[in-house]
Amino acid sequence: MNKLRLILLWLIVGLPLAWGVAHTLQNALRLLH
């Protein structure tokens, strides 16, 4: 239960962050190219 909570919580914060980072990186590389 504790482990499931841990995974779920990391996903909740990790996914939006990954989305934001991917977005920024994609824009940066496209513009710098």
Binding site: N2, K3, R5, L6, L9, W10, I12, V13, G14, P16, L17, W19, G20, V21, H23, T24, L25, N27, A28, L29, R30, L31, L32
Partner: protein, 462 residues
Amino acid sequence: MTAIARTFGGESRVSFWDRRRTVAPADFNRFLVPPAALAVHLSIGQVYAFSTFNLPLTRLLGLVHSAPADWNLAEVGWIFSIAIFFLGASAALCGRWVDAAGPRKAMAVAALCFGGGLLVAALGVHWHELWLLYLGYGALGGCGLGIGYISPVSTLIKWFPDRPGMATGLAIMGFGGGAMIAAPLSLILMREFGTATSNGVAGSFATMGILYFAFMLIGAFVVRVPAAGWTPTGWRAPERPRRLVTTAQVSVGAATRSPQFWLLWGVLCLNVTAGIAVLGQASPMIQEMFSGRVAPAAAAGFVGLLSLFNMGGRFFWATISDYIGRKNTYFVFFVLGIALYAAVPTIGNFGSIALFVGAFAVILSMYGGGFATIPAYLRDLFGTMHVGAIHGRLLTAWAVAGILGPVLIDYIREFQIDRGVPKAQAYSVTMYVMCGLLLLGLICNALIREVDQRHHHRESPG
């Protein structure tokens, strides 16, 4: 409130929000705390992306172009400045309350202030009343920023006595990452809420207010404080503490009377000044130094890249500091910073864009690293008892640097151009001034010694 308290923990008479109710049970996994902290920092990091709304806020009536009755950019710019001012002020003034109230109550108050501030700002946009934006996002939201910034950090320090740099670096990385979520999210929301008669700012503010409030509350619900005397399994405090790592506790009052606090204040202020000056001018600087070779769109890409290094540096350098020590980490920031700033004019003359981008990527990683390593430095010097409050007071250095850095780079650039220096070379003097500031920072850092015993707290921290 009582119902909530029952749902989450039986019939205890102690409120759900009380610090005592957040003391973790023995089987609690401490790795649940970093994501709780991240939930708050990712939300409040939205402030760095507030400029996404600047232009739309000047076209609320005219929609495509500003109408005569629309607010101008200077008026709108004050919203961000007020928010940053209240961030510093609330962190400095509410630090002791945050330490006493515990992280759950503090994070919930931060959620209320920040989410509520966005909702008040939405009303301000709807009624076209600028003072409501100053009051809502600026004052109320700014208090949410300050309380939300310091409360998870001091909690993480207590959970990770073995790796305080890594733990706080992770949370403070979230503050940098929050802008990367908020910038595209703002654009998506404005597109969704935009109609023929509205550009969707009010709807975006209201939605973000609710979303961030809920997201921050997740953090408040999950966060726990360790029981008194708790240590990580298998970890024992070293019998002979490392140099500059105290086992004593220093109260916030005694800390601010010690020279170490003011030297650290100088270290943070000078490191941030050097970084923030670049961050604010990165786009025009690369375009002017490589005139005709860097388009505005590519310059925007450069700014995005810098923000990634600013974020990554927060985790990287704070983690490194657990291994090489805080003082050595700042020594690297200042020495490497001086070398890179001094090299920038030569790189500009050399015409190498790749080297230029690389140099500033490293500089910005150290700017972020400076923010992320400071809480662990405070903990090393003053202990954990009032680390949140001390951190809050130290953040006033950020507010000063926030004014000093951009003003310095703007003023020197203008002065150079007025004296007939070509735009491409107008930044050279600024770079050497930055070297001077970093040298001062290096001296401040070198002067830091252990806190004198007369400042140590006599009683048990409790």
